[in-house]
Amino acid sequence: MKKYIKLNINSTEYELLVNDNETLAQLLRGPQLNLTGTKQGCELGDCGACTVLMDGKAVNSCLVLAMQANGHAITTIEGLASNGKMHPIQEAFINAGAVQCGYCTPGMILKAKSLLDVNPNPSRKEIREAFVGNLCRCTGYFKIINAVEIAAKGQANKEAGN
């Protein structure tokens, strides 16, 4: 069964025709939107590569049916940069060497955003706990955790007007 849904994706309103068994990840990556920055490593909720923000919260988009997302606001990795400038979290990942093959990266960065939005100054332990659902086979996580710390510090400095 197909149905029209309304989505706000990266601040643009869409009306999209979706299948009842289509996941949000499939919809984002599919021919209507082509937002392939969202990756799929398992399609079972195990890897976190498909992490996007739904109303600001990180979700595994492979576990959300497109129809369930009806009326919600979605942020994908493509929506993070603004005015041609990368988001500070993206810059932190790039500069910290936290990106190797990059397949986990969009999900990691969005997870970082959802964490820092509610906890701007997380400890390493809190970062570890928050990222437990995002797998990375390449980096050993060390530089990913560093990147989140750097991004947090950057945000704090900015708020202090430095």
Binding site: T36, T38, C101, R128, F131, Y141
Partner: protein, 822 residues
């Protein structure tokens, strides 16, 4: 924490942002599964649900009639030419012919207008199987009357090896102490985050373009051409961004050939993406090994003899296995000087997915057994484990018993740095109960000396083209970037030689249509091999530029230098400089930001040459020098390399005596990579290896039921580490000057996984007196051992592989009786 060789470089030995990383962090990077073409169809593969069966009949009529289905293929419709990894052992077909050999063997394929239709069509294909006896472990497979998985391999032996150097029996007769232990790991998966994917487009002119997530564009191109009976150059293989490989993407897979077949059949582009369960069914990662090792030492603790009996459970096909079985022997020839060694091994076919190569190919499980045993001997002889290793170590300038010449080898520095930075001396034997520290060393190759098929071609050719307007250069190489950072290494070398900024160097890699041949990303070969070719190509460009300017200025080449985007020395004749500059400025008069002072720029001179004679091209090739290896040790050519890396890991752990729970508190890894090109990338490889090694030590195991079906084919059930499992770690770069490496560089990606597993095993023994000789190390095994140790009131308890492993090794011993090694 690092040690540095002091060289005066602008770009090398820094930590730049890698090529392609901003694209990855913004979602712009396209991986194979992200690419769509007009009229593209979706492919899907029907896999065998049975581990061993004859195919009596396949009925595809209902699938064909499903609306939206464009093609249904079985072996009847397509080429049945064989392929595989080692050319002497081509034993696979794209689609199963007459029989299936493991759960997951490819039986049929579909192309349809969307993925859902393709998957629905699979369910409509009816296969009539006749079940055959299933062989799931080597002891059943090696039985005299066992059914044969491949008719031409008696006893299901894929390959056997019997080697000896020196005189092992004599050494054993003279030994002060002899110890025998057994060890086993488990079949593991690569678990790259990006599943394999292929997009094939067979066009009307008869050209095939294949985008694929591969480590080896060249081998895929060649294999597809062989099977489809096409000229090699009609097949263009493009590796776009690749989401990790670790070995499992290092040879052509049936999915790539099937995608091409579907495209040929439908005249449409076809994209085929494996799901996670299919990734596990394809597998091709680390073998399951069984080892029995006997070590003999003299009274000073020097190793004088070593015997190694081993069985490799190979799964259904040869894959990389011929190389694996030889590496399993030869990767023990260093980092210790052992004059007398014997190796007997069997690689056995079983009805499971084929095992292949994984990071640290053929060197992980044998190393774990060896190092755990060495530690037990050190302990028995009351020798400090670090001292034991220094005492037995080889060093630069030595030749191993297998004839490998170690042109650089800073093993002792690795050991010492790791020891000091982990405060080993303060901790060893002084930690509170339940806490332990353990050490291990290892070594690895910097590229396989021999290519996979017999050929005289160079292993790497690189072309560098200067931009026609002079603003930078492009490096063309077939060498695959898979997330390890190889593109950046080649760009850094090029920038250094041409005096350019890293941003001035573009790299186009892994595209057989644009790039000269390179054998690809495996055996940790790229920095050394592609690196040497890159260096030569960049030097060829540099020499042309310098020759031109020297000719023009009528002063010797040695007066000029490329640096900082300039041709230094051109300021020596202002008149000549003005002529060239004015000419350039006139030609570019509508452009802004032109350089008006100082020495001529790279662009000004490059444009001058272009005006004269067209594009500036530089070419470099690399073929390994005559590499030494012992003719006495059969197959030691596998393991012979232009250079060898070495590494030390120190693990610190806590064991809970009540639950057996294990925490890895800290890992230190020191690695001799020769000259460090991209320091942050090297740290990344070390950190990734520590995590990957921890993973194989503690978690990884593909578990099969008695029908040969994997019961944990998800990333939820097949565990790899999360952020919660990985401790803080210390990556230590140890440098040496490798004469065969570009700028003295050698490998970093693979060797560093090898010492991690045994360091953890040894740390656990230090913590609680339990030696776990079967991977993965679980708290159940530790707890069981602690109880057994207590019951026996013993100081130590060794958790051995199960009785089945003994049977497997006993059968191998029986078979190898009387086999001559020479």
């Amino acid at each position: 924490m690092t040690t540095t060789t002091n060289k005066n470089y602008d770009v090398l030995s820094t930590s730049p942002v890698r090529k392609g990383v901003p694209e990855k962090a913004t979602g712009q990077a396209k991986y194979t599964g992200d690419i769509t073409l007009p009229n593209m169809l979706y492919g899907a593969i029907l896999h065998s649900p049975l581990a061993h069966a004859k195919i009596r009949n396949i009925d595809i009529s209902r699938a064909k009639n499903l609306p939206g289905v464009k093609a249904v293929l079985t072996a009847k419709e397509v080429s049945n030419l064989k392929f595989g990894h080692s050319p002497a052992r081509f034993d696979e077909t794209a689609l199963a012919v007459e029989k299936v050999r493991h759960v997951g063997d490819e039986v049929a394929a579909v192309a349809a207008v969307d993925e859902q239709t393709a998957r629905e069509a699979l369910e409509l294909i009816k296969v009539d199987y006749e079940e055959l006896p299933i062989l799931l472990n080597p002891v059943d497979a090696l039985a005299d009357n066992a059914i044969l998985i491949h008719a031409d391999h008696p006893c299901n032996i894929c390959q056997e090896v019997h080697n000896e150097v020196g005189n092992v029996e004599k050494a054993f007769a003279e030994a002060f102490l002899i110890r025998t232990d057994t060890f086993a790991n488990k079949k593991s998966d690569g678990a790259c985050l990006e599943p394999q994917a292929a997009l094939a487009n067979f066009d009307l002119s008869g050209n095939l373009t294949l985008w694929t997530s591969t480590q080896v564009s060249h081998y895929v191109q060649r294999t597809v051409a062989i099977v489809l009976q096409m000229p090699v150059d009609k097949v263009r293989v493009i590796a776009p961004y690749v989401g990790g490989g670790f070995g499992v993407k290092a040879s052509a897979g049936s999915h790539e050939i099937i995608a091409a077949m579907l495209s040929m059949n439908t005249h449409c582009p076809v994209r085929l993406v494996l799901d996670r369960e299919e990734v596990f069914m394809h597998n091709r990662a680390r073998h399951q090994f069984y080892h029995e090792m006997t070590m003999a030492v003299d009274k000073t603790g020097k190793i004088i003899g070593h015997k190694h009996l081993s069985v490799l459970d190979g799964g259904a096909y040869s894959s990389f296995g011929i190389a694996t079985i030889y590496y399993n022997g030869s990767l023990l020839h260093a980092p210790y000087a052992i004059p007398n060694m014997r190796y007997d091994a069997y690689r056995v076919f079983t009805n499971k997915p084929a095992s292949g190569a994984l990071r640290g190919h053929g060197g992980l499980s044998n190393r774990a057994c060896f190092e755990a045993q060495l530690d037990m001997i050190a302990n028995e002889m009351k020798i400090d484990p670090v001292e034991m290793r220094i005492k037995n170590s080889v060093q630069a300038g030595d030749t191993t018993a297998s004839g490998y010449y170690l042109s650089s080898f800073n093993m002792r520095e690795c050991l010492k740095e790791a020891r000091d930075s982990s405060e080993w001396v303060k901790k060893k034997n002084k930690l509170p109960k339940g806490k332990g520290i353990g050490v291990s060393t290892s070594y690895f190759v910097s590229g396989a000396g021999a290519s996979i098929y017999r050929t005289d071609i160079p292993q790497s050719t690189v072309i560098i083209k200067v931009a026609d307007d002079g603003n930078g250069v492009t490096v063309y190489t077939g060498s695959n970037e898979i997330g390890q950072g190889s593109d950046t290494v080649f760009a850094m070398m090029t920038a250094e030689i041409l005096g350019l900024e890293l941003d001035d160097v573009k790299v186009i890699s892994g595209d057989t249509g644009l790039c000269p041949i390179d054998l690809g990303a495996y055996s940790s070969r790229q920095t050394l091999m592609t690196g040497n070719a890159t260096k030569q190509a960049a030097e060829a460009v540099r020499d042309q530029i310098l020759a031109k300017i020297s000719q023009r200025y009528k002063i010797p080449v040695s007066e000029f230098q490329l640096r900082g985007g300039r041709v230094l020395g051109t300021e020596k004749n202002q008149e000549e400089l003005s002529v060239i500059r004015n000419r350039y400025m006139f030609e570019h008069r509508h452009f802004t930001n032109l350089v008006t002072s100082g020495p001529l720029t790279f662009s000004e001179v490059a444009r001058l040459i272009y005006a004269d004679s067209g594009s500036i091209l530089g070419k470099g090739t690399y073929r390994p020098p005559d590499i030494q290896y012992s003719k006495e040790w059969k197959g030691s050519v596998v393991g012979a390399s232009p250079a060898y890396s070495t590494q030390t890991c120190i693990a610190e752990v806590t064991v809970d005596p009540n639950t057996g729970d294990l925490t890895i508190d800290h890992l230190t890894l020191a690695h001799d990579c020769g000259f460090a090109i991209n320091r942050k990338s090297i740290e990344g490889q070390l950190e990734g290896s520590m995590c990957h090694g921890l993973s194989e030590a503690l978690f990884e195991e593909m578990i099969f039921d008695n029908k040969g079906r994997q019961i944990n084919p998800t990333l939820g059930d097949y565990k790899i580490p999360t952020t919660m499992d990985v401790p803080d770690m210390n990556a230590i770069i140890i440098e040496s000057n490798e004469p065969n490496g570009p700028f003295g560089a050698k490998e970093v990606g693979e060797g560093c996984i090898l010492p991690v597993v045994p360091a953890i095993i040894n740390a656990i023994r230090d913590a609680c007196g339990v030696v776990i000789m079967e991977l993965p190390i679980t708290s159940e095994k530790i707890l069981k051992s602690l109880k057994a140790k207590e019951a026996a009131k013993a100081e130590y308890y060794i958790y051995k592989p199960p009785a089945a492993a003994d049977k497997i090794l006993a059968r191998a011993a029986e078979l190898s009786k009387g086999s001559s090694a020479r």
